[in-house]
């Protein structure tokens, strides 16, 4: 009885203080999840989550967090309010990154060691299919129109286009060395893929699966081999895309119409993954070496704050 009262009071307080959004960051080396209030620019708390958490996604209804706990060989389902574990999904070995379809009923997991993509029915918590892809699949995404799943294999240097209906690979696009992350524009017409060792961003036409444009990044005072593109996001209007450049410690701002690089924003060390605030006024970056996140104000395109979060921040997700 008492407990109930306390917890409902607590959730009221939480709800009140969380008028802005909550940023969730997985901490690979702390086996924990950090919660950040990005408006106050403060770390709210850190909770234990499992062995080596990496990929993190919020369900479309914002109620569930999916977190790949790689060394526990599972994807955990966490209640986004209470942070209690509500289930686990059969992800196969060493899950790292995964993607949710727009409806939120399918999860596609990259199994790096087995060169597989595992398709999971979330409601049934069952594996529907395992799809053989290239060596060391990493980045994975589902197009907003739910037609395509793209899996990027790091060693094969391919984007594998998987038909979301049949779960078969239909086409493959060769990109530059070590593709890491891939995402679609909101209209599902273009896929953007980063190549960590090739130092490029490749724009692919989703219709023809052909490469439209290959973008390179030149930053004054930074050697080319430090420019290692990883995380990539594109705004809803397809005006600007943002690319995390790893040990170059910068986020590139790319015009999504002209494909010009407009600006480089200096963030923390070894910037890894990116996520927008729900209103897309801010961008959050995980910085793996400086152990913090950078908060970027997108109207002014300036880095406004960095917040220390814990050891090896990896994935980032935002809940309104």
């Amino acid at each position: 009885m008492n407990k109930q009262v306390i917890s409902s009071v607590l959730s009221l307080i939480l709800a009140a203080s969380a008028q802005a959004e909550t940023v969730f960051v997985t901490l690979e080396k702390d086996n924990a999840l950090a919660l950040i209030d990005p408006v106050e620019g403060e770390l709210i708390k850190t909770v234990e989550i499992g062995q080596r958490p990496r990929g993190i996604v919020v369900s479309p209804d914002n109620k569930v967090l999916y977190i790949a706990v790689s060394d526990d060989n599972t994807v955990k389902m966490i209640d986004a309010e209470t942070l209690k574990e509500i289930g686990t999904l059969p992800s196969s070995d060493d899950p790292e990154t995964f993607a949710l379809n727009p409806k939120g009923d399918r999860l596609y997991v990259s199994n790096e060691d087995d060169s597989m993509v595992t398709v999971i029915d979330i409601a049934k918590k069952k594996v529907i299919k395992q799809i053989k892809v290239g060596v060391e699949p990493e980045g994975i995404t589902v197009s907003p129109d739910n037609r395509w799943v793209i899996s990027a294999s790091e060693t094969t240097n391919m984007l594998h286009w998987i038909d979301a209906k049949t779960n078969e690979i239909v086409e493959n696009t060769l990109v530059d060395a070590r593709p890491r992350a891939v995402t679609f524009t909101a209209d599902s017409k273009f896929a953007w893929a980063t190549s960590e060792m090739g130092s490029t961003l490749t724009i692919v036409d989703a219709n023809t699966k052909q490469i439209l444009k290959r973008i390179t990044f030149e930053i004054q005072g930074v050697a080319k081999d430090k420019v290692q593109p990883v995380g990539v996001v594109i705004d809803k209007e397809s005006k600007l895309g943002y690319v995390a450049l790893g040990p170059a410690n910068r986020v590139a701002v790319v015009n999504a119409q002209t494909y010009e690089v407009e600006k480089y924003l200096l963030v923390g060390q070894r910037v890894w993954n990116l996520a927008f605030s729900p209103d897309q006024k801010r961008l959050y970056t995980t910085n793996g070496v400086s152990n913090d996140i950078s908060i970027i104000d997108l109207d002014s395109q300036t880095v406004t704050k960095s917040v220390g979060v814990g050891n090896f921040p990896w994935g980032v997700a935002v809940k309104p």
Partner: protein
């Protein structure tokens, strides 16, 4: 007994090779040429003797190349020529490789590597040296048709020197073994000491017996009593005949680095960063053992050919060699930075791991060592100091 060599062409049990003659596919044929080296018995029975170093690395890379090849309609195949220690490598090369292959991965002694490179039949062949570490082969004895995959001795000792400089362990006591290789390693150490302004307070040849198991306790303590104080003992013992016995037995408490203790290497079982865990796992599954340096060298060699063939859509020597030495070439080597060849000596530029037996201590270039082009060129012979002149190399 007129047969002076035996050629082993091992059957490859991978399903991928069944497609070698798949119609419409571009075939890229790679030869792997290795001579079995006479090795001294190990110092102890702790570690098993690893045979066939390199072969599994080349095979793993062929499999990786073929996963890309499946989509790009290219088929990579590997034919292995393993020459016994007393065999004639040149004869095997002329008979079995010349005119049949454009790309040859070699795992040969330094002098044999150049002997092969100088054969008439090697003129239209690119050799990928996956075994030597000799600085001479990257300098005055360089060959335009040989690419070097493993870091040279100078790159390794520069890596150690950078780390010691960072630690401010600037006074070195150098102990040199009896072999030619040990002397070359010591030369590299002296060059690095000069380059990074370190002081070799004393150099001493190791002249005790190699049966150090019995006498190490007394021998080493006496041997390491020198007049000057020093920060680290640097040992040059490439074959591992006595170096392991120095640690914990020195007269004053000082760490051992060099060929034993803290070592500089291109690959190590303690390396797990930048996706290395994945290839360590894949290699172990395939070979049933840890990946050795020659395996890593052979892996990179075959992957280089794969990367160039994929990008140029070719299986011919010239376009592939041109691409390998061009600016866009970026090889993923599980070391957190793209690898590429130095055009002035054909050396693969790469980070060097500094490893203790059970922990990775650092990865060089160490932060703070800057270079106008790439920090990787702070290791080894940079362009201005190279002794390699292709024009002379052809004479």
């Amino acid at each position: 007994m007129s047969v002076s060599f035996i050629v082993l062409q091992l059957a490859v049990p991978n399903f991928l090779f069944a497609k070698t003659t798949k119609k419409g596919n571009l075939d890229i044929k790679i030869a792997y040429l290795m001579q079995i080296q006479k090795v001294r018995p190990p110092l102890s029975n702790l570690d098993p003797i690893v045979e066939n170093k390199g072969v599994f690395g080349a095979e793993l890379a062929i499999e990786d190349n073929n996963t890309t090849g499946e989509y790009t309609k290219q088929t990579f195949s590997l034919e292995k020529f393993i020459v016994p220690a007393e065999g004639d490598v040149a004869e095997v090369f002329n008979k079995n490789i010349a005119k049949k292959f454009a790309f040859v991965v070699t795992n040969l002694a330094p002098d044999i590597t150049n002997k092969v490179a100088d054969l008439d039949a090697a003129k239209d062949i690119l050799l990928f040296d996956a075994a030597t570490v000799d600085d001479a082969l990257r300098n005055k004895d360089c060959r335009a048709n040989v690419l070097h995959l493993l870091p040279s001795r100078a790159m390794r000792t520069d890596a150690l020197a950078q780390y010691l400089m960072k630690k401010r362990w600037t006074k070195w006591f150098l102990v040199v073994g009896a072999t030619e290789e040990d002397k070359r390693y010591a030369e590299a150490i002296k060059r690095s000491a000069k380059k990074f302004n370190m002081k070799i307070v004393q150099e001493k040849p190791w002249e005790h017996t190699f049966d150090a198991r019995r006498t190490a306790q007394s021998d080493v303590a006496v041997f390491t009593q020198i007049d000057e104080d020093y920060d680290v003992l640097v040992v040059a013992d490439e074959q591992g005949q006595f170096g392991e016995y120095l640690d914990y037995r020195t007269w004053i408490p000082r760490p051992v680095i060099g060929t034993q203790g803290l070592v500089a290497t291109s690959w190590h079982r303690t390396h797990e960063q930048w996706g290395a865990t994945q290839i360590q796992n894949r290699f172990k599954e395939k070979a049933g053992r840890w990946m050795e340096e020659q395996d890593y060298g052979a892996y990179l060699a075959v992957r280089s050919i794969g990367e160039a063939a994929t990008r140029t859509k070719s299986n011919e020597l010239k376009p592939i060699k041109d691409y390998l030495l061009s600016d866009p070439f970026a090889l993923q080597g599980y070391k957190g930075t793209p690898l590429s060849f130095r055009p002035w000596d054909n050396q693969l530029r790469q980070p060097v791991l500094l490893a203790a037996p059970r922990s990775l201590v650092a990865v060089a270039p160490i932060e703070g060592f800057l270079h106008p082009k790439t920090e990787l060129d702070t290791l080894g012979y940079d362009q201005p100091e190279t002794g390699c002149q292709w024009s002379k190399a052809h004479e």
